[in-house]
Structures are given as C-alpha cells and as structure tokens.
C-alpha cells in the first residue's frame, strides 16, 4: 500500500443470513482511495453500493448482516479486525458519512446546535463554548450567513438543501480523512444539487478529505469524481478513470449505463435502457452476474464467473470480452 492511500478495500465480502442461506450482497469488492481523491461508486439500486459503504464503517445491519471476509485498510489498520471501541473513534472522526435523505437524517427533537456540539464534544473533548464556536464556523463554511440563528433552530425549520448542508458541516467538523457520501443529492432538486456538489468539491480541497461518492447519477459522477468503480450484483465490474469510463467503457454494463443517459446532440426517439433488473442476491445467475441482461453474452459467461482483471495500470474489468484467449471471439461478436 503506497503512502498516500487512505482507504484500501481488499476482497471485501458481506453477506446477509436468513434461516440458513447466505446471501452475498457485497462479493469480493476491492478498490482503493488516495488522499484527497474523489472516487465514485456507480450502480443501479441493489448493486451493493450502500452495503459496501456500511461495511467500511462496520455498520452492517445486525444481527442478519455480517462481514464474512476481506480487509478494509484505513491508515494501515484493518478496520474489519478492530474492536468496537476503536470503531467509535474512527466513525465521525476519521471517516464520516452523509446520506440520501437529509429530511430524516437529523434528530427532530434537538436543535442543530445541540447536534453539532454533541459529536464535537464527544470526539475532541472540548468545552461546550468551544464546540459552539466551531459549530458556527462550520455552518458559515457551508454557506449559512445566519449561522448563529441556525444553531438555535430545530431541523424541521430547514429545507432539504439546508439540512444537507448541515449534515456536511457535521460530517466535516472533525476534519475526517474520508467522507462517504451516499447519494447526497438524490433527494434534492436540481439547482440545490448543483450547490451541494459545488460545496463538496470546494470543501474536499480545503480539508484535503478523500470522498467516496455513491450514486446512480452519472451526471454527478462526471461533475465530481476522478475515478469510477462500477458495481453490479455486489461485485466490482469495472474500475477506471473518469475519462476512460465516459470515452471507452469496457464492461457491457457500463456501456448500457452510459447509453441510458439522454444525449444533447441528435434526435433520439427513445432512451436506451438495459433490459431486465438487477438480480436479487438469492437469485444470481450461474456464471457472470450480468449474463441474463448482457447483449454480448457468450457460452462461457453462462458457465464460469469471470474474474476482475487488470486491463492496464489504472483500469480493471470483470468480463470475458477483455480476457486474453476469449477476447478475439468476443470482439468478433461485438462487431457483428
């Protein structure tokens, strides 16, 4: 692991157990995040994005969910092996998270000030007065001019965009090295989305925090991310830089995702879509997880599961089309 890697996830596997069956929701996921970098994790609903982030935080819903294998190295420590006490110090302090639903992620019975102060006092062991001061500064940083008033307000008095900004202020107030943003703009309208994205970009520079951006919105990805991990059925199917993903997607699933974005140039009668839905973890097909929806499916795809291969130094893909040996056959198929 190089010096500037903040987070290194290796072969992470998280499963849900019901009765005696094991349902893998995160299956052999590996990726790493460098200092100050923004990494996007993209995929449809149910592809295991959120479970990956909860696994990193060690907050997989118990008692049914469990991390069954792999490592999550954060600053050289494997978080999977840490005890609960260490995790309490990591959460909020080293790794913070913001969520999709800003309307419900603040506690309705406490004022904004009380909520910002509580976690500051808990993590930094500072006085209430100091915490209040930091809270006001953080609120100003995220663009509240009346920060003093906001501290006294209850969450119901703020709009969705304002609450998301409060969440960002709280998440960044302990100066975390990594911020996990789980669909931070999905519940907001477009103009507010742009503000929040701007804010996140600005603050990640200012605080030198790495960001893991979880989303299904490729527009947001293009806006913010430097590298992209595409997930499907609990697995990483492609990893590449932002340019490569948009210019030359390797995996048929990535291609399908990109084709389903409306284009400005040219007329298009209907948007392309990927046929079918993401298979549920208890209903994964034999072989490649994507085989049932893949336009290029070959015989081998139905028999054996492809592995994640290094295409070049910065690209990885999990597809037989790009594996040596079967590659030629695939290319022919693709051009036909």
């Amino acid at each position: 692991m190089s010096e500037d890697t903040v987070l290194d996830v290796r072969h992470l596997k998280t499963s849900f157990f019901s009765k005696k069956t094991e349902l893998p929701v995160v299956d052999d996921v590996s990726f790493s995040v460098k200092k100050g970098e923004t990494l996007a994790i993209v995929g449809e609903s149910g592809s295991g994005k959120s479970m990956t982030s909860l696994s990193i935080m060690r907050l997989v819903p118990s008692p049914n969910g469990k991390i069954v294998g792999g490592e999550v190295f954060f600053n050289g420590k494997d978080l999977v092996q840490q005890n609960d006490k260490t995790m309490y110090k990591v959460r909020g302090n080293d790794i913070s998270m913001i969520f999709q639903e800003p309307m419900t992620s603040l506690n309705p019975v406490y004022t904004i000030g009380e909520q910002i102060r509580e976690q500051l006092i808990y993590h930094q062991k500072i006085s209430k007065r100091e915490a209040h001061q930091i809270g006001i500064e953080m609120l100003q940083t995220v663009g509240f001019s009346r920060a003093n008033d906001i501290m006294k307000d209850y969450p119901h008095r703020l709009s969705g965009g304002m609450r998301q900004r409060v969440m960002i202020a709280m998440a960044l107030s302990n100066n975390p090295k990594l911020l996990i943003a789980d669909e931070p703009t999905t519940a907001l309208d477009v103009t507010v989305q742009a503000q929040i994205l701007d804010l996140m970009r600005k603050l990640s520079k200012e605080y030198d925090s790495a960001i893991i951006l979880i989303t299904h919105d490729l527009g947001v990805v293009a806006e913010l991310a430097e590298r992209v991990v595409v997930m499907y059925g609990g697995q990483v199917v492609e990893e590449a830089s932002i340019e490569d993903i948009f210019d030359d997607p390797l995996h048929p699933y990535t291609e399908g995702l990109l084709n389903s974005i409306p284009k400005i140039e040219g007329t298009q009668e209907r948007l392309d879509s990927i046929p079918g839905t993401v298979p549920t973890p208890d209903n994964l097909p034999v072989g490649c997880n994507f085989v049932t929806r893949c336009p290029y499916a070959m015989e081998i795809c139905k028999q054996e599961e492809p592995t994640l291969i290094d295409k070049d130094s910065s690209r990885k893909v999990r597809c037989y089309l790009h594996e040596e040996g079967v590659k030629n056959h695939g290319q022919q198929h693709r051009s036909s």
Binding site: M57, L59, Y88, G92, Q100, T104, E118, Q119, D149, R157
Partner: protein, 307 residues
C-alpha cells in the same frame, strides 16, 4: 411520514415578513404547553391535582386534628365546626385523616409509577434497539408477567408479606412495568430504522448515547401519557387492596382503608359522610390524572394540530 406531520404541527402560521422567512424560535416545550392549555378538561384536571397534591404535602399544617387520635365521645359525629367532615367509628377526624391518607396514596402512586416506568423504559429500549435473541428473551418475560392475573398475584404476595408502603410500591412496580416496556419497544422498532439513528452511528456516538440520548427522547410522549394514567391506576389498586383489608395496615390512613372501615350497616345508615369523602377523593384524583393524561396525549401527539 412522521417528520412531515411534525413539520406541519410545529410550523408557525405563515408570516408575511418577506426575506426573513423563519419566525421566532418556538421551542418544542412551548408548543406542547400551548396545546395542553387549550384542553379545558386537562386544565381542570391539572388544577384539581395541584390542590390535592399540595393539600397532601401541607397536611401537617392543614389538619385540624391528629389523624390517629381517637375520641370516644365523637364516634361517628356528623360534620360540625369541630369535625369539619365528621368523625369515624373511633372518633377520629375524617378531614385530617383524609389529608394524611392522600399523602400515603399519592406517595404509593408516584413511587410505583416512577419505578415501573424506569424498568419499562430500560427494558423496552434495550429490547427494541438490539432485537434478536435479547428482544426475544425480554419480551417472553413480559408475556409471562402479563399472563398472571395481577390482582390475584397482588393479593397472594401482600398476604404472604406484611404490606408496608415500600413493599406495595415494589410489588406494583414489578407487576406493571410491562405495558411501558411494550410501548417503548414498539416505538424503538420504528425509530431505530430512521436515518438520524444511522447518522448518529456514523458520527461515532456510543450505543448508550444513541439509545437514551437520541431515540428515547423521540419516544417519550407515549411514555409520559402512560405514566400519568398509571398513577391513577396505582391509586385505585392500592385502594382496592386496602378495601379488601390487604393494603397498608391501620392505623396508617389511606383512602382505601378509610372506605374499608366504613363498610358497616350502622355506618351506612347513620354516617353517610364517612364513606362519601374518601370515596370522592379517590374518584376526583383518578379522574384528574386521567384528564391530565388525555391532555398530555393530545399535546404530545404531533398529529393533533393546535386550534
């Protein structure tokens, strides 16, 4: 959704102040108080309770006689300037005894309520938050306790042990925390799935703080209502036991054992005032607690919009 309802409820009337869209900071408490005081019955109940509770507290100053002093001359004396509400079959002043009896009844009611609510809240929170086998074990214990017919269990226990007030409180608490535990558990089951709980977890707050600091305050409304109504129920139960001769033993006065003492044909025929006043006190007190409980229920329920 709950938030939306809460939002509706606490939103101040639309203000036409232009740029400053947010009005003055209205705290949750002031809204609750406002809604409570709009309910006439609740206010009447509160006033009655204030009078009853202060009369119990100030009994030593308000009483005209020693509550246990007997006087053979005044046996079953009718209300007069000397004995305001008459005297009982031993010539004790009913008015003074009633004040001291109030002390005992209210003390048993409040103490039993506090202990039962504490046990119920802790058990319910833990069961609801952790779920799984912890929930299973705790809720089976609740089922077992509920499955006993409590009045018979009470009678058995108090006939075996000599019923001191402390003993009664402990027995009441052990037998009646189950309702609160179920209420709190069900609130926790829905609240723990809310995103602010996950948000608190990702901020690294410890479990104890999340359970009691973040989830419990959101679930406290129904608990307060249940607790208020429980005081009334405990006073009734204590009176029932005393009436059956199994409650707090004489000469200590309680409203229940005053009623019990007046169970006598001669008393019924000649001294109507003896059973009437203690009975009236039980009636008014319990009714007031119920009014206040209902008022609190409406005031704490965000779905009830203020008029």
């Amino acid at each position: 959704m709950d938030e939306n309802q809460m939002k509706q409820e606490v939103k101040p009337p639309p203000q036409v102040t232009g740029a400053e869209t947010l009005g003055k900071h209205e705290s949750m408490l002031s809204i609750i108080l406002k809604k409570f005081f709009q309910n006439k019955l609740a206010v009447i109940g509160l006033i009655m309770l204030t009078i009853i509770i202060s009369s119990a507290i100030f009994a030593p100053w308000l009483a005209t006689h020693d509550p246990n002093a007997t006087s053979t001359l005044d046996r079953l004396a009718p209300p007069s300037a000397e004995n305001w509400l008459g005297a009982d079959h031993l010539g004790r002043d009913i008015y003074s005894r009633m004040l001291y009896a109030g002390q005992m009844s209210l003390w048993v009611g409040f103490a039993a309520m506090l202990s039962a609510t504490t046990i119920g809240v802790v058990v319910g929170s833990v069961a609801g938050y952790f779920g799984g086998w912890i929930d299973g074990v705790l809720m089976r214990v609740v089922d077992i306790i509920i499955s006993f017919p409590s009045i018979f269990l009470l009678i058995t226990i108090v006939s075996v042990f000599r019923p001191s007030p402390e003993m009664l409180i402990i027995v009441f608490a052990i037998l009646s925390w189950t309702g609160t535990a179920r209420i709190v558990r069900s609130e926790f089951l829905s609240l723990k799935k809310r995103e602010f709980v996950l948000a608190a977890q990702t901020l690294g707050l410890p479990k104890r703080r999340i359970i009691f600091g973040h989830i419990l305050p959101n679930a406290i409304g129904p608990v307060i209502v249940a607790a208020t109504l429980a005081i009334g129920a405990f006073i009734i139960t204590e009176s029932t036991l005393s009436f059956l001769g199994l409650g707090i033993s004489p000469p200590t006065a309680t409203w229940g054992n005053m009623l019990s003492d007046s169970q006598d044909l001669t008393v019924f025929l000649t001294a109507w005032y003896y059973p009437l006043f203690p009975g009236l006190m039980i009636f008014i007190t319990v009714l007031s607690f119920n009014f206040v409980g209902d008022g609190l229920r409406d005031a704490l329920d965000p779905r009830v919009v203020e008029k």
